[in-house]
């Protein structure tokens, strides 16, 4: 196990290096730059822009800039935002809580609901319920998150006035209930696609397991249907779901990008979009690396978990 983890960590570091190299290159392939936002300011001249560029070190060759960035990155200095001059790590951590809150709560919804729908679909295969769930999943997968978010705001905020139309909390309130109230719509909207995917995977995993010999044995022992279902079938069907959860993580993060914009949620996704708009290179790279680390770690943990719960899997 220890060897496996070390091996995987080595891989991950190499991957991170490649991600940073590709990211940095693409970022700088696009012409323009962080200073173009000031170009149309009254009284700004090209000479002054050049001076600012020089002070920011943007006039150096790109490979040099990259090396400078990467060596600092390795020792934990992720640079400073071009926009407000704050350290990138503190900018990211300032937006982290919002995204984690959103992603965790929508994961809870999607895993819980997705598992339930999947289990019911598998046990009542070809029933009316199963068909409804299947069609529902198709629809949910096809609806763009952005559109669904806007419809939800129109119906539940503007017409019914049940939920706030956005923001993470009311300024001056910030109680637990206030957070929860604001959290409902964005987390459900974000969960929608994952519920669909999750329920389809769960259904087919269940069907795989239901036909296995050990299930027949359990029935033959005289266990009740419920007990067979929950002790044997569902538990075994959940094993591949752990891997799926690892794969779903980046999807959730990219979904959060859209959801955070629609619901004015001050998270990493929106930070990333904003930084792209301003060509805030240090923050873009920071978010990119942070997400890459997050995803790699997620997959690693998923693999270890699978090995832990499934004795058939050995990590070499």
């Amino acid at each position: 196990m220890a060897r496996f983890i070390l091996h995987r960590l080595g891989h991950s570091l190499l991957l991170l290096f490649l991600v940073s190299l590709i990211g940095y290159t693409i970022l700088h392939l696009a012409p323009g730059g962080p200073l173009s936002q000031y170009a149309l300011s009254p009284g700004m001249t090209q000479a002054e822009l050049n001076q600012i560029a020089e002070r920011m070190g943007l006039n150096r060759p790109i490979p040099i800039q990259y090396l400078d960035w990467f060596t600092s990155f390795l020792v934990g200095d992720w640079g400073e935002s071009f926009r407000d001059g704050r350290p990138v790590l503190s900018v990211i951590s300032g937006h982290l809580f919002a995204t984690v809150l959103l992603v965790v709560s929508s994961s809870v919804i999607s895993i819980g609901l997705g598992t339930l729908v999947g289990v019911l679909g598998a046990t009542r295969r070809y029933s009316a319920w199963d068909y409804i769930a299947t069609v529902g999943a198709m629809i949910a997968l096809s609806i763009p998150t952005f559109w669904f978010g806007l419809v939800a705001i129109y119906v539940f905020s503007l017409q019914l006035d049940w939920f706030p139309s956005g923001n993470m909390y009311s300024i001056g309130d910030e109680s637990f209930l206030d957070y929860a109230h604001h959290l409902v719509m964005p987390s459900v909207v974000l969960a929608l696609v994952s519920v669909a995917i999750w329920s389809r995977y769960m259904r087919s995993a269940m069907l795989d397991v239901i036909g296995q010999d050990f299930v027949r044995t359990a029935r033959a022992k005289g266990l009740t249907g419920q007990r067979v279902l929950y002790r044997h079938v569902v538990r075994n069907a959940l094993i591949p779901m752990i891997t799926l959860a690892g794969i779903q993580l980046p999807m959730l993060l990219s979904g959060a990008l859209v959801t955070e914009t629609v619901f004015t949620w001050p998270g990493i996704g929106r930070l990333f979009l904003d930084s792209l708009g301003y060509n805030d290179y240090p923050v873009i790279m920071g978010v990119l690396m942070f997400t890459a680390i997050f995803v790699l770690l997620g997959n690693l943990i998923a693999d270890i978990l699978v090995a832990t719960v499934d004795p058939r899997v050995r990590l070499e």
Binding site: G32, S36, Y38, M44, G94, A98, P164
Partner: protein, 547 residues
């Protein structure tokens, strides 16, 4: 403690009891201090961009100024009528009152007494001296050096009086000072590196509001400054809320989550609906930006004035404004905004006349080639038109213009670029053919446009400035130099009227319309006073109050 709040993750935890108690304590303290000032209530202003740079002299964008105006004060400010109004100075220096010498070279400013910084320190002439010198500091990333570069021999006469000399007379300096926010010497003077100070994230000013907290990606909160020198503030807190999506911004205005919809405001296609909203006031406000089709006169197609004139005849402004811009902005002929005291009312009105356009081109010797596109001396009358990609309204306008231009034998190819590319070197160094662009030509309320039209302001030819058209006209140069050295308004008016006539005649760009914005606020908010002379409508929140 407020600064650590923005960076510290712990503030976001749900253990609100401690914070709540502290807030209660703080508001209790603030409340007793505010009682005399009668500040109450809060206003939430929705912006579609996030203010991030709170140091007013570091490079920033217009949304940042919406916050600066309320944290800081200039020596004097400019109101919505275009008049200077004293702020930290007791009177606006002019030739008449002796604040500016006849030749414009010596300035004397008397300062308000009893003004304190938000941290309690007294405001003095040293702060003014420091602020101007900061703009001249070569190690400082100053946003604007224009005008400040000419200041010499700043002398602090006493705590409340300061004098300086100008290297050469420069009339626009008054306007520049009207947006030069004074920053505290006692906090910034000792910084080792003027660019790396905490000031960016925890600013201290003399303004109507002091800095409360910034939650990145979310909002900035300002608190009433009970010791402000002006009348007011009447609001206890001001929140600048960042809402990135225009649709969501409008939705939150409808639901009442925000009280004021600022910056880009309400999109034009929602005007009819927005007017019907209960308890909301929606107003058309003039901005000083002028939209135009700008030519790169360095390209051979555009060196013939007949081409520019013909294209102006083929430009159907009325239809563009009515059909694409919902009739909200007004067509214009000048680069100066209507509302400026220098605006020329009687410039010749452009006329949409395709036959006339064809005739002009025929007479100038541009004859249609085999493909219908006109040619003269081997130069095809074909060009690209570029603007910010993704701006759908401008894209519609381009397509509309394209058809009319094709009608008169001119080929216009639409080639739009992402903002960072478009307004980078492509624009600054005159690499474009033509551009659809909105520009603020004026220096605040001042009509000086040397930075745009003087022949020494062409970056592509080694100059310093924004003359991206590469426009050169000796008369223009002379007028600009004369206008910038005169300090009496009536004399200047003659100069700038002449200038507007010459530019209208030369057409380095085809003016389309002056920008207007749709802003909205809840009924009952008083003091909201959009000002064409500043870049943002939250310039006077100190005067806002709830009825």
């Amino acid at each position: 403690m407020t600064t650590s709040k923005t960076t510290n993750l712990n503030r976001r935890n749900f253990l609100k009891t401690g914070t709540a108690g502290l807030t209660l304590l703080m508001s209790g303290v603030a409340g007793s201090r505010l009682a005399a000032q009668d500040a109450s209530g809060q206003v939430i202003i929705g912006f579609s961009q996030e203010p991030t740079v709170l140091h007013p002299h570091m490079p920033h964008i217009e949304v940042d100024e919406g916050v600066h105006f309320n944290l800081f004060d200039p020596l004097f400010t400019v109101n919505s009528d275009g008049d200077f109004v004293p702020a930290l100075a007791t009177e606006v220096p002019t030739v008449e009152n002796g604040g500016v010498s006849e030749d414009g070279l010596k300035w004397r400013v008397k300062l308000r007494e009893g003004v304190t910084w938000h941290d309690g320190e007294p405001f003095t002439a040293e702060d003014v001296k420091f602020t101007i010198e900061l703009q001249q500091n070569p190690n400082f990333s100053a946003m604007r050096r224009t005008g400040h570069e000419l200041v010499r021999n700043i002398e602090v006469v006493n705590d409340h009086e300061i004098t300086w000399e100008m290297e050469s007379p420069f009339a626009p300096y008054a306007s520049i000072l009207s947006w030069t926010f004074i920053v505290p010497a006692h906090i910034l003077a000792d910084a080792e590196d003027p660019n790396q100070t905490d000031f960016r994230n925890s600013p201290v000013g003399t303004g109507a509001f002091s800095f409360g907290e910034r939650v990145a990606g979310n909002y900035i909160q300002l608190n009433a400054n009970p010791d402000w020198w002006g009348d007011g503030p009447y609001l206890e807190t001001v929140i600048f809320r960042y809402i990135p999506d225009m649709t969501v911004l409008y939705t939150q205005f409808r639901t009442g989550d925000i009280d004021v919809i600022g910056l880009q405001g309400i999109q034009f296609d929602r005007f009819e609906q927005a007017k019907q909203l209960d308890d909301r006031e929606v107003v058309i406000t003039q901005a000083s930006t002028v939209e135009s089709i700008s030519f790169n006169l360095g390209k051979p197609q555009f060196q013939d004035p007949a081409v520019r004139e013909a294209l102006y005849y083929a430009l159907d402004k009325t239809t563009i404004v009515d059909a694409i811009y919902y009739g909200i902005p007004e067509p214009t002929e000048s680069f100066l905004p209507k509302g400026s005291s220098y605006f020329h009312e009687d410039l010749p009105k452009s006329e949409y006349n395709l036959e006339k356009a064809k005739q002009i081109l025929d007479e100038a010797g541009w004859v249609p080639g085999d493909d219908g596109v006109r040619v003269k001396d081997g130069v095809r009358l074909a060009f690209k038109n570029s603007t910010t990609a993704g701006n759908s309204v401008r894209e519609q306008t381009q397509q509309f213009i394209q058809q009319d231009f094709a009608e008169i034998g001119v080929e216009m190819e639409i080639s739009n670029l992402p903002p960072a590319v478009m307004w980078g070197e492509y624009w600054q160094m005159s690499e474009f053919d033509t551009a659809m662009v909105g520009i603020v030509y004026t220096t605040g309320p001042d009509p000086d446009v040397s930075n745009y039209f003087h022949s020494t302001a062409i970056s592509a030819q080694g100059g310093a400035g924004q003359n991206t058209w590469q426009y050169k006209n000796e008369t223009v140069d002379e007028l600009l130099e004369e206008g910038a050295s005169l300090f009496v308004q009536e004399e200047r008016k003659t100069i700038y009227n002449k200038l507007q006539e010459v530019v209208r005649e030369d057409l380095p760009f085809l003016p389309i319309f002056q920008y207007a914005n749709l802003r909205g606020h809840k009924a009952g908010l008083e003091g909201f006073d959009p000002n064409v002379n500043v870049r943002i409508e939250t310039w006077n929140v100190g005067e806002w109050r709830w009825a």
